[in-house]
């Protein structure tokens, strides 16, 4: 028998009520012996707790409760509790939506939070124009002032 099974059995039964296989495991397993000892201590404490007298309703409990139930504001209070719970969540979701929209409007069109798609398109257009322009040589693409910003890829690789 394994430790886990033995421990499950130990939780529900006294040690002398264990099956033979569990007893055998317990005799040879130090960890399970510790488990049995600790659980025994805790169970004793829990038993004492369970035997303590439960408080009883004070005099007039029912009368006070009935008065409370007859209060005209009771349904209103229940509705208020409901809206308090729902309202809190609605405010949270609303705030998140507003924050997303505000961030969308405020963030710059490119940078670490946005893709460089717009920039890439303009670069591509410049490249095509350069290729078609007989007066511009191939060296425009290899120009150090243009390449890093235009071909952001190489620049990124460099980092």
């Amino acid at each position: 028998m394994r430790c886990e099974e033995t421990r499950r059995l130990l939780e529900d039964r006294a040690q002398d009520q264990l099956e033979a296989s569990a007893c055998e495991h317990l005799q040879n397993c130090r960890a399970c012996q510790d488990y049995a000892r600790d659980w025994g201590l805790l169970r004793t404490g829990l038993r004492v707790l369970s035997q303590e007298p439960v408080p009883r309703p004070s005099v007039g409990f029912l009368a006070r409760l009935t008065r409370c139930l007859e209060e005209p504001t009771l349904p209103v209070r229940a509705a208020a509790q409901f809206w308090e719970l729902v309202g809190r969540r609605a405010i949270l979701v609303g705030s998140l939506v507003v924050l997303t929209v505000v961030m969308g409007l405020l963030l710059p069109p490119s940078g670490p939070w946005r893709s460089t798609a717009g920039l890439d398109l303009s670069v591509l257009q410049a490249e095509v124009a350069a290729e078609n322009d007989p007066f511009v040589g191939d060296d425009i693409l290899s120009s150090p002032s243009v390449t890093p910003s235009i071909l952001g890829g190489e620049d990124r690789k460099g980092r």
Binding site: L49, T66, E70
Partner: protein, 197 residues
């Protein structure tokens, strides 16, 4: 026969309570107040809060009684309302993990230390039992609300796994697993306390 009459009577009270009859609901309160007080006490374990909690539970039950469809007994349904309410209360009121050992008396500390090193159960003195009671109480109050509820129902209310499963609307196998996990976590906390002495 007597049970049958009682059941019919209870059904009538429930029907009247569904129509908003507070007098009929009052009869149900009288029948089940002990049960609700016991659940509230064992799950929350604060004597001074039990009556307020019980009142809140009955108010909730009165407001929700129209939703009671009779699939389970009224007692089970009411217990479920009580357990859910206590669970919410525990989650709201969860005490911080303060050191509790300092709250015990010197004698109890010594008794507890001796106990942790000797075999349990046999010949435990009253002082030692009280020290263990304090320890179990503190470990329970530090446990997560979910563990607290399931341990309270099993160890303090002394309900069977089947009864707990019915009240919580879970399978018995799920209850067994949760119970084992809760006990294991409680023991781990106990050992942390032992090592941190």
């Amino acid at each position: 026969m007597a049970n049958c009459v009682e059941d019919r009577q209870e059904l009538e009270w429930v029907q009247r309570a569904k129509r908003g009859d507070t007098e009929a609901f009052g009869f149900l309160v009288q029948r089940y107040e002990r049960r609700v007080f016991s659940l509230a006490y064992h799950l929350v374990n604060r004597r001074e809060e039990v009556e307020d909690l019980a009142q809140e539970i009955f108010v909730k039950a009165f407001l929700g009684v129209r939703g009671y469809d009779g699939r389970s007994s009224f007692a089970t349904w009411l217990s479920r309302v009580a357990i859910n309410h206590c669970y919410d209360h525990l989650r709201r009121q969860r005490t911080s993990r303060v050191t509790y050992f300092s709250q015990m008396t010197q004698e109890r500390q010594r008794a507890l230390e001796t106990n942790a090193e000797s075999p349990p159960e046999e010949g435990i003195q009253v002082d030692e039992r009280m020290a263990l009671r304090d320890l179990a109480d503190k470990l329970l109050s530090r446990a997560p609300a979910e563990d607290r509820v399931i341990l309270g129902l099993k160890e303090l209310e002394e309900l069977s796994v089947e009864e707990i499963a019915e009240m919580l609307g879970l399978k018995t196998s799920t209850v067994k697993v949760r119970l084992h996990r809760a006990r294991k976590r409680m023991l781990e906390d106990f050992r942390r306390w032992q090592h941190g002495r």
